[in-house]
């Protein structure tokens, strides 16, 4: 289990070693989540059309260790983009992965960039 958690570490845009192409913009739903798989990692991707911003985070909910976050609802809390886990509605910031319910666990986030209509996720390995 620990192994699974350690697999997901937040990557800052400046730390990216490889940008991985994960599909075209139109493959992803608007204002909702979808999941991609890269090697052994499952990453949830969110497209906020109102600000035309993209966010990516681990698909693993750290609360009960289930691969579900991409299936949760997204939105904002006082301007902070967030997602809510579909299992127990735990909410996390999509900006920094912090827990918005004041609990201990948080999630890893990943940078996203769009080039020529293609979506890229940044990894540090």
């Amino acid at each position: 289990m620990e192994e699974l958690v350690n697999l997901y570490q937040t990557v800052q845009a400046t730390e990216v070693l490889s940008w991985v192409s994960v599909g075209s913009v139109s493959d992803f739903p608007e204002n909702a989540g979808a999941c991609i798989k890269h090697k052994s990692r499952q990453i949830a991707v969110y497209h906020f059309t109102r600000t035309n911003k993209w966010y990516a985070c681990q698909n693993l909910c750290p609360h009960k260790m289930e691969m579900v976050l991409s299936r949760g609802l997204s939105g904002d809390a006082a301007g902070i983009p967030k997602l809510a886990c579909p299992i127990h509605k735990k909410t996390f910031s999509l900006e920094d992965g912090s827990n918005l319910n004041g609990e201990e666990y948080s999630i890893a986030t990943y940078p996203v960039k769009i080039e020529n209509g293609i979506v890229y996720i940044g990894f540090a390995d």
């Binding site: 192409s21 204002n31 798989k37 499952q42 299936r71 809390a77």
Partner: protein, 836 residues
């Protein structure tokens, strides 16, 4: 440190303790409480609810720990036999003595037992304590086992009717026997009594008025009562409730003055004839009267405490005996002088036998003041009338409006604003909370909302009758401070669900983004998105496939997410009726996709453990076999459960299965503020448990009885009768109106039972809306439902037919792989997720 000894741990004794612990001089006193019963003080007012409670502890005023936690020494099962007034000592029945500085006697009262020949026989009970109730229950169980069901209550007063209700709850055929020519003779006039009598008779109680019991007949056991008019009534047990007698033995044994007909004499400081000794509650004789109500008892407790602590508080010179309560399911209220008909007073009466309502007010001849009145069947005006009476406020020009309501458009509360009440107006008489105290709690910044005010002032925490008025005062006070409280659903929409519903409808808003642009802000969130999805669905009957992104996670994937992120699949099995062929298909599908199968509580079959990408494949097979979505994942109609009904059952009156199927087919796919469940039973044995549902239909002679607003779950509620003996079409018509009214007005995730609880006017008002069409909107409601029914579509059929919507069931955007990390473990020849 001075010691207070309190003898008696009933409701009033408890109140004394409660007031003591919050008193500023609490530290100066040490308190020792004696109670002769084995449990701490409990709520005698709601004693008849005892049988419906899970534990008698629910009746406790406070748990035993509360006393210790607050430094109160409580000794239960100990009786004080005498007081040594000279040496300031009390002596218990175990002959132990305890010294006091201040003694408070709150021993209450006991039932008065009239002298009737044969009253020593077996099967004769009183109704006062939990032990009495338990004895009644044990005896009635014994009788029922022998096929004997007749029970009589001697006394048709307030307590007698409560006792009768308890006896009825025990399944006994209950007779109420009253010496006077009317029920509740101290509170009601003849017309009010007549109405109450017909109401309680309609639920099965038998009433015998003007009957004087002469002798109880039987060979050792009670078998019958003989009356002085020579008639007899065969009964197997008798509960005596013929009034109360103060428990003043302690005073009599100790040289403390008592009244001629009992009761410890007290002055307006609650002092007895012996300095340092006080009496409060039903044992105290104040103004030559014993007061058998909670409110004056509580006031006495407050006065005695204040006097002991060196204060100057005095008992009100005259005690108000107004009461408002629910007796055997009927609202009854009586205030001021209910009977006056002197030269200076005029009575105005309103009676509607069809609705079962009687109202009477007595006003001064010049029409300026309210002197008293009676309400039976609908006491919703009580709070207003009581305030007008107790504060001596000037009446409106047409006094009849007080009970008839202002007719015509633009009618408003007869009080004007609740803020027009004087600050001294007592709003909560149980807890003695004035209007000023409520307003000050808010104005001082001490409380921000209703919850805070109730916690701070304790208003409405005892009988709860004043709650609507407390709510109004809090609301109006907040408003006057410019702090209007709004029930907004979240930070993105500053509106209640009902307001959003209207906004979407009026603006003909067709999408979530448009709504956010027009009357919302930000990106939305997991709260407002599903609420808006539900509103769009309820107005336009759009399925969850139309605006996928705003659906709650389960609606988005049209299945119920389970522990490990897999889904369960529940096809509709209307009314729980299924052919063998279809049953085989369910088995085959489950086998093919290796799904765990279980029968649900709603008479369907749940298939668990489906992965996201398998859902469309599973549904393709189910739809080919003629199944439809069961909407088990949605806040929508789930099932209409049925018993097998008259087609097979030898007791069945009507065909409950056919009717359940008709209802389920009509409302399938209907989205609502919360899930909706229904039930149809073919007879009153109620095997479909229809009264545990949001709507329940039960077959009776001559049609169906329709019950609404029940649920199981954490707070089980029985559905309440909305209308009786309906034919099929009328029943459907009422259901249409009820459901649309609920869908339009309920808050998000509020089920029908709590919705009804919050609905002003409660079930009576709901009846007016649904049955009597008081809003004049019945036709619109029905047309709206017809439209929704017409636009129904199976959303799973839609989903598998549209390649675009199918994309959402692909686990990963960038690969065709599926999630291989899922782990299942075996369980009784099936599988289950690995435990968390």
């Amino acid at each position: 440190m001075e010691r207070i000894i309190l003898v008696g741990n009933g409701m009033v004794g408890y109140k004394f303790c409660e007031k003591l612990i919050s008193h500023p001089n609490r530290d100066q006193f040490d308190i020792l409480v004696f109670g002769e019963e084995n449990r701490p003080a409990y709520d005698r007012v709601h004693l008849s609810e005892y049988f419906t409670l899970e534990s008698p502890d629910e009746l406790l005023m406070a748990p035993r720990d509360w006393y210790a936690d607050n430094g109160i020494t409580l000794r239960t099962s100990e009786m004080i036999l005498s007081v040594d007034t000279e040496n300031k000592k009390v002596v218990t029945h175990k002959n132990e003595s305890f010294e006091y500085d201040h003694l408070v006697i709150a021993t209450g009262s006991s039932p008065f037992i009239p002298t009737i020949k044969g009253s020593e026989k077996e099967g004769i009970f009183i109704y006062r304590t939990i032990e009495d109730l338990e004895a009644i229950q044990t005896y009635s169980d014994k009788l029922k086992a022998k096929g004997r069901y007749q029970s009589a209550v001697l006394g048709g007063g307030l307590l007698g009717l409560e006792a009768a209700n308890a006896s009825k709850e025990l399944g006994m055929t209950t007779h109420v026997i009253e010496f006077a020519g009317k029920l509740m003779p101290r509170q009601l006039d003849q017309a009010a009594s007549d109405l109450l009598q017909s109401k309680i008779q309609s639920i099965g109680l038998k009433v015998h008025l003007g009957k004087n019991s002469k002798e109880i007949i039987g060979d050792g056991e009670t078998e019958a009562i003989e009356f002085t008019d020579g008639t007899t009534l065969a009964v197997d047990m008798i509960i005596i409730s013929a009034g109360i007698r103060p428990r003043d033995e302690l005073a009599r044994n100790s040289g403390i003055a008592v009244g001629e007909r009992g009761g410890i004499v007290v002055n307006n400081r609650m002092e007895t004839s012996v300095p340092g000794i006080y009496a409060i509650g039903e044992v105290a004789l104040y103004n030559q009267n014993i007061y058998g109500l909670v409110a004056p008892g509580y006031e006495m407790a407050a006065v005695a405490l204040d006097q002991i602590a060196g204060g100057t508080k005095l008992m009100s010179p005259s005690i108000d005996m107004s009461t408002q309560l629910k007796l055997v399911g009927t609202e009854v209220a009586s205030f001021g002088d209910p009977f006056v008909e002197s030269e200076d007073a005029i009575a105005i009466r309103y009676e509607n036998k069809q609705r079962g309502v009687y109202k009477r007010i007595n006003i001064s001849k010049d029409g300026s003041r309210l002197l008293g009145g009676i309400l039976v069947g609908d006491s919703s005006d009580y709070n207003t009338l009581f305030q007008l009476y107790i504060n001596g406020m000037k009446l409106p020009e047409n006094a009849e409006d007080l009970i008839l309501g202002q007719r015509g458009a633009g009618s408003k509360s007869l009080l004007g604003s609740v803020l027009d009440l004087p600050d001294t107006a007592q709003i909560c008489s149980c807890e003695a909370v004035s209007k000023g105290a409520i307003c000050d709690a808010i104005k001082s910044g001490c409380c921000q909302d209703l919850k805070g005010v109730i916690k701070h002032t304790k208003a409405s925490t005892s009988c709860g009758g004043c709650k609507p008025m407390v709510v109004d005062i809090v609301k109006e006070t907040l408003k006057s401070l410019g702090k209007e409280v709004k029930e907004t659903i979240c930070e993105h929409f500053e509106y209640s669900r009902q307001e959003l519903f209207d906004l979407v409808k009026l603006n003909n808003t067709t999408g979530y983004d448009e709504a956010l642009d027009t009357f919302g802000k930000g990106h939305g969130c997991e709260i407002c998105k599903p609420v808006m999805a539900s509103i769009f669905a309820s107005i336009f009957m759009e399925t969850a496939n139309k605006q996928v992104a705003i659906q709650d996670s389960n609606d988005r994937f049209l299945a119920n997410i389970q522990r490990n992120g897999t889904y369960s699949v529940v096809p509709r099995v209307a009314g729980g009726e299924i052919t063998p062929e279809k049953l085989v298909v369910l088995g085959q599908v489950a086998k093919k996709f290796d799904l765990y199968t279980k029968i649900t509580g709603g008479q369907r079959i749940d298939l668990f453990g489906a992965q996201l990408h398998e859902l469309p494949m599973i549904w393709k097979e189910l739809i080919d076999a003629g199944f439809e979505s069961g909407h088990a994942y949605g806040k929508s109609l789930r099932t209409v459960k049925s018993c097998v009904g008259s087609t097979w059952c030898r007791f069945g009156l009507h065909d409950s299965v056919s009717f359940a199927i008709r209802i389920e087919e009509r409302y399938k796919g209907l989205r609502s503020p919360h899930k909706l469940k229904g039930g149809v039973s073919g007879c009153i044995r109620e095997c479909a448990e229809a009264r545990g549902k949001d709507f329940g239909v039960i077959a009776v002679e001559g049609g169906w009885n329709l019950y609404v607003c029940g649920n199981g779950g954490a707070n089980p509620k029985h559905a309440i009768l909305l209308a009786s003996q309906l034919d099929d079409d009328t029943c459907i018509k009422y259901l249409d109106r009820f459901l649309i009214y609920y869908i339009r007005t309920a808050g998000p995730l509020v089920r029908t039972a709590p919705w009804l609880e919050k609905l002003e006017g409660g079930i009576e008002y709901l009846k007016k809306v649904v049955v009597e069409d008081c809003l004049g909107m019945a036709a619109e409601f029905e047309a709206e439902m017809d439209g929704l029914v017409e636009r129904y579509a199976c959303e799973w059929k839609e989903a598998i037919e549209d390649p675009e919507t199918l994309k959402r069931f692909k686990p990963f955007v960038n690969t065709e792989e599926t999630d291989e990390e899922l782990v299942f473990v075996p369980l009784r020849e099936q599988k289950m997720p690995r435990p968390w």
